[in-house]
Subunit: 365 residues, 3 copies
């Protein structure tokens, strides 16, 4: 990016910060959510919008317009080349390395046949994309939190230590647990105070792709990262469920920007399968907006909704995933190549600075 | 709420009013809709946003930050306690008493075998939550309007008297009536002028969970309250439809805030059933946004869409309800307890001041 | 519109331009997208919001309020009459003539059995509604671009000449083409530079209602008009697909406002069928928002999603269409009349100035 009239990444962030502060409309709820604490937090959140949730702010950056007022205006051809260079740079950087990886499968500690999981909620810095670090509230320093994978009928014990400055609680979204394990402060339990610990224990009731997340001040806490996958393998898997590759994809759209498993493009993780393999994708939406996920090159067969088998599987290439929903699909990987895979609300996936946010690829070798 | 640094409800409203007036982003369409008439209306609408539709405005209120600039800043522990106290207060207040109750089943007047319903549309004050009164345009002083419940093949006559300052008309959303009863001004009828009356009459054509609402200046009139359930029992109910408890839940998100049957939490109505009973919920969305409704503790079996049986019932715990849609679900009430039941766009259900808006509970005794 | 206190169309545009520039919230992404180029473009985009995408801006215009400060305030009755007159005027103008018609079926050039389509992408002025012209980026000067209709197994060759000031590329959304024909710059091909041409060629793989559109800077390019229907007839049509009338309806919500096939009401095209005919509607969403499409008077039977047969057709009267999705429905035209047909996000269809945007009618003769 050598052309002086094209904003550097830093210049672009500065520009966006200024324009966002001056701008009148910042529609992303999560963005404002993190503006409340302090001016620096607001500035950081706004700066992060450059590659993040506010497509309006992103669009406020004129393509190829000089940030420094005295720079010469590029010709249309130069502007087009510069835009292409930014797009190419993003794609060539994929998959970009960042610190931290969320959604890692967690091995339980076994105590007399009970699968025990120890979680600590704590504030961390989380690198969403190369160089863009945000404040996160995380379980075990992962966004999303560690993936819990158990089997129908397992006994599980989950102990949460709260090192956050706020009270919290865990709701097991989709699991039909007894009421006292449901994690709703003042209805099913007291809130877990800062510094305190709390233990949940239950026999895993129903199979499927479920989630766990905060149910206290949740519009803030979940969007800051207090969420994870809670996957329950069935005792008797059905033939249609058989998969060679099992990929969990958690969508979010809060103050961290538009993310897949806690990262924005180009730091998102590619999905990789061999030709002929069956790929299972488990979509989970922990954000505030719908995300119609579109896969290029091959269709998806929907097999489950919220962990429940659909009575008749159906096919699509664009699947609308609403907040709180989980959808399981199977992709028969018949078409070799590198296939774009993204939210089809285009402003969640691309700006004139290139692809960002909810974009990854499916590689079929 | 005795700690001086925690805003009282009144102080919080004042703060929000000021911050909302100063704020740059008020994304809720309905909010602005009621800003157009006059400055006081705007101020009222903005103030009402405190517990209402603008999560951005709500989020602008710092949790535990002093409203009075000279108050001492609370310690993190004090702030956490204060936040919990606000959350607890909201939940303990549930179900809170408010003036007025919408969606009451209306008994028809019988005239020679015709079921006659007299509706009057009028401007009223409507208490959405304790102490928060808003301007509403209502049928028979109810928001939602009276519930009309008839049977397939019934002859009905609906007379509307318009005491509003604007013309209006009623569309029977989902009913396949003859065109001249369809309620679209200048296409199927003249508008019903202020002071005038108009009579609709038809034989009820198709069973299901339908709605009636204004189809004139509807983006304003429906959001202000001119809407209601129009439920048509089938001549031959199917076994799957059998329910011990039948609950209509109308979603709205206009200038009154996020509401279920015209009320925001904690003034929403709990759904109550006994263990072992079958509960039918009829979701209807009269707002401008999707609302993915999430039930804790038990799943829902979807049996009808827009009044039409689904060919194969399917299960979920989070059901995305889009504007204009109706979805009928059955819940087998097997899991005793008090279960949170809310829109899973978390900013429609919770702020750091506690739960609000589209939240209720299912109580299984 | 002779009453001096009612804004004329021009006065209304001026008012809206002013109020929109002063207003604090302009949530429509597309709107801001076109604000980025220059102040005149911004002013034009904001002016166009009068009948277009920003219902907030539209709502900022007081019904019947004087634009000229010295005009006398109308009485409530006068205001109601004036509002009705605006509503009537819109409906009486339908279907309004405008320059340009998109989505016209394109006849291919045959070269040795290959169906060849020549497309040129170019900036044009596009009349969305009578008198409202916007900047568009169009294929062959049509918004949506020419409709491509082929048969499963056909060989097609599509040549794009890029006369835009930006690079571009075509993605065949829903078609399971080989990777090198997938149209994603820097992943499957280089971008097509301004002044350059590029040829795609493939054997049409899967039947259904698909789309073609830009996949480069797409959040801008698609919303400005670089999109079209790509319909693949099956080799063996099923009985359920048989239709007397086949209507493609492409939804968009960018800087051109809320549109059906590139036009806003009253310039939208009516759907016309005879009583007893079977009507097929192919919904395609190329915008950034969901649009739950509601048909009055008759229900729709959903037969396909994204070009794939649904395993069991299901019925509805309101169909939620998310960005990137295509839904095929059949309407049995049994109920004669002129039936409103619109997005049920009411602010996409009506303001106090009357119906606009995503509104048309189904006429059953």
């Amino acid at each position: 990016m050598e052309h002086p009239s094209i904003p550097s990444d830093a210049g672009r962030r500065r520009f966006l910060r200024q324009s966002a502060l001056a701008a009148v409309a910042v529609p992303a709820a999560g963005l404002l959510a993190s503006c409340r604490d302090s001016a620096p937090a607001a500035a950081e959140a706004l700066a992060s919008a450059a590659g993040g949730p506010s497509h309006d702010a992103a669009h406020a950056a004129p393509a190829g317009a000089p940030v420094v007022a005295t720079a010469p205006k590029p010709s249309p051809r130069e502007a087009a080349e510069a835009m292409d260079a930014m797009h190419e740079k993003g794609i060539k950087a994929f998959p970009a390395k960042t610190e931290g990886r969320g959604n890692q499968v967690m091995a339980p500690r076994l105590e007399r046949g009970v699968k025990c999981y120890d979680l600590t909620a704590r504030e961390i810095q989380w690198e969403v994309e190369p160089g863009r670090k945000v404040k996160a509230w995380a379980y075990n320093e992962q966004v999303p939190g560690p993936q819990i994978r158990v089997r129908e009928g397992d006994r599980v014990r989950i102990t949460l230590r709260n090192e956050l400055p706020e009270s919290t609680a865990i709701h097991f979204h989709g699991l039909e647990v007894p009421m006292d394990q449901d994690g709703v402060p003042f209805i099913t339990q007291p809130p877990i105070k800062p510094g305190a610990s709390y233990t949940y224990e239950f026999t895993v009731p129903n199979a499927g792709s479920h989630m766990y997340h905060s149910h206290h001040n949740a519009a803030k806490q979940v969007l800051l990262g207090l969420l994870g996958a809670f996957i329950v393998e069935p005792k008797q898997p059905k033939a249609i469920e058989r998969a060679d590759v099992d990929h969990v994809m958690i969508l979010n759209d809060g103050p961290h920007g538009y993310t897949l498993n806690g990262k924005g493009f180009p730091a998102t993780e590619p999905v990789v399968a061999k030709k002929g393999q069956r790929l299972r994708i488990r979509y989970m939406n922990e954000g505030l907006m719908i995300h119609p996920m579109h896969l290029h090159g091959m269709h998806m067969t929907v097999i489950a909704k919220d962990g429940w088998d659909v009575p008749m599987p159906w096919k699509c290439d664009t699947l609308n995933v609403a907040p709180g929903e989980r959808w399981d699909v199977i992709v028969e990987c018949t078409n070799p190549g590198t296939w774009a895979f993204h939210c089809h609300i285009l402003s969640h996936a691309e700006s004139d600075h290139g692809m960002f946010g909810m974009v990854t690829v499916l590689i079929v070798k």
